[in-house]
């Protein structure tokens, strides 16, 4: 049971293994270069387990001691995680004893896999989700520790390798796009983010983008809900005319 779930989970995490090997090692090397031994890197990666916040923290660890600032800055950088929980309320509902760890380990990469990957027939969903989270978490911790230990010895040209995580998100975006007939929510996500990026700049666009996404999704919920019903009932041609008309009423 466990082994089958691990085998089913592993292929989904290969892109994360590649991306984290690189980004985790780079993190360990940076921490070491600032005089923080591998023990600190290990603690940070194990308990914080949030890449962008950890990179940001390097600047905090090399400046004057300001714990309140560290807390709120991390809260801001990781605010997007609030949406991950909201999206996975249903999937985690029956997760039982796995639930706390699944939530603890809900990084960008685990979230994107969990919300798109389905376990194959006969594989327990909870073990499957657990192993995806555990594998991603382990890659990050091991890679950052490895970076701290032997980073400076490595010198092959890894420039551009971090793009693997962008590629992962793009692939998931395309798969989700193919699985749906209506693309309202996906388009709202991209358009709001791009608009806020242009308006607020790369360092502060996330929170406004989240607010914009929430507001637009809620305002147009009837239209978007209609779209969802439609995509579910494509086989029943009989219901289609009434739904088209109800959509026109909304317009």
């Amino acid at each position: 049971m466990k082994l089958r779930a691990l085998r089913a989970a592993f292929p989904h995490t290969v892109p994360v293994l590649t991306g984290f090997s690189f980004l985790g090692m780079a993190y360990g090397i940076l921490m070491a270069s600032k005089g923080y031994g591998v023990g600190w890197t290990f603690l940070m990666s194990l308990f914080v387990f949030a890449g962008s916040a950890q990179y940001m923290a390097i600047t905090l660890l090399t400046a004057a001691f300001n714990p309140v600032y560290a807390f709120f800055l991390t809260l801001m950088i990781n605010a997007r995680h609030l949406f991950y929980g909201l999206s996975l309320l249903e999937k985690f509902r029956e997760a039982g004893r796995f639930r706390p760890y699944l939530i603890f380990g809900l990084c960008d990469e685990s979230f994107s896999i969990l919300c798109s990957a389905e376990p194959p027939e006969g594989v327990d969903r909870n073990w499957f989700m657990f192993f995806i989270t555990l594998l991603d978490h382990s890659y990050w911790v091991l890679a950052s520790v490895a970076g701290g230990l032997l980073g400076s010895l490595l010198s092959f040209n890894t420039r551009g390798l971090d793009f693997v995580l962008t590629a992962l998100f793009v692939v998931i975006f395309v798969s989700q796009w193919k699985s749906q007939k209506k693309h309202g929510p996906a388009l709202i996500g991209v358009a709001s983010s791009v608009a806020c990026l242009l308006l607020f700049g790369p360092d502060r666009f996330i929170v406004p983008a989240m607010i914009a996404i929430l507001a637009i999704l809620l305002v147009f919920r009837e239209k978007l809900q209609v779209a969802e019903v439609e995509s579910l009932s494509v086989t029943e041609t009989k219901t289609l005319p009434t739904e088209t008309s109800s959509e026109e009423v909304v317009k």
Partner: protein, 111 residues
Amino acid sequence: MTLSPLETVLIVALMALATMTTRFLPFILFPADKETHPYVTYLGKVLPYAVIGLLVVYCLKGVDILAAPHGLPEALAIGVIVALQLWKGNSLVSIGAGTAVYMVLVQGILS
């Protein structure tokens, strides 16, 4: 090491607390054993599609379209990924090929 060990531990602990707040809060606000409001259930259904879009933009936030190479490596690599994924639908192939194309572009041709 600029900070003392105690100060560093405190920073790590507070950062872990902040991260966990963002991850656990939805589950604390909407517990599993209680009926969730239809708005929240609705958001849970549509948000994943919007959030992955946000994540893609988040990854590309550092790209400067005005300066050389004008985001061309990113655009070409994403084009390859989208085409492969629509055509073959094999995630690992799409990701591997897209990343390879990107690395060749930024290390060589368009560097």
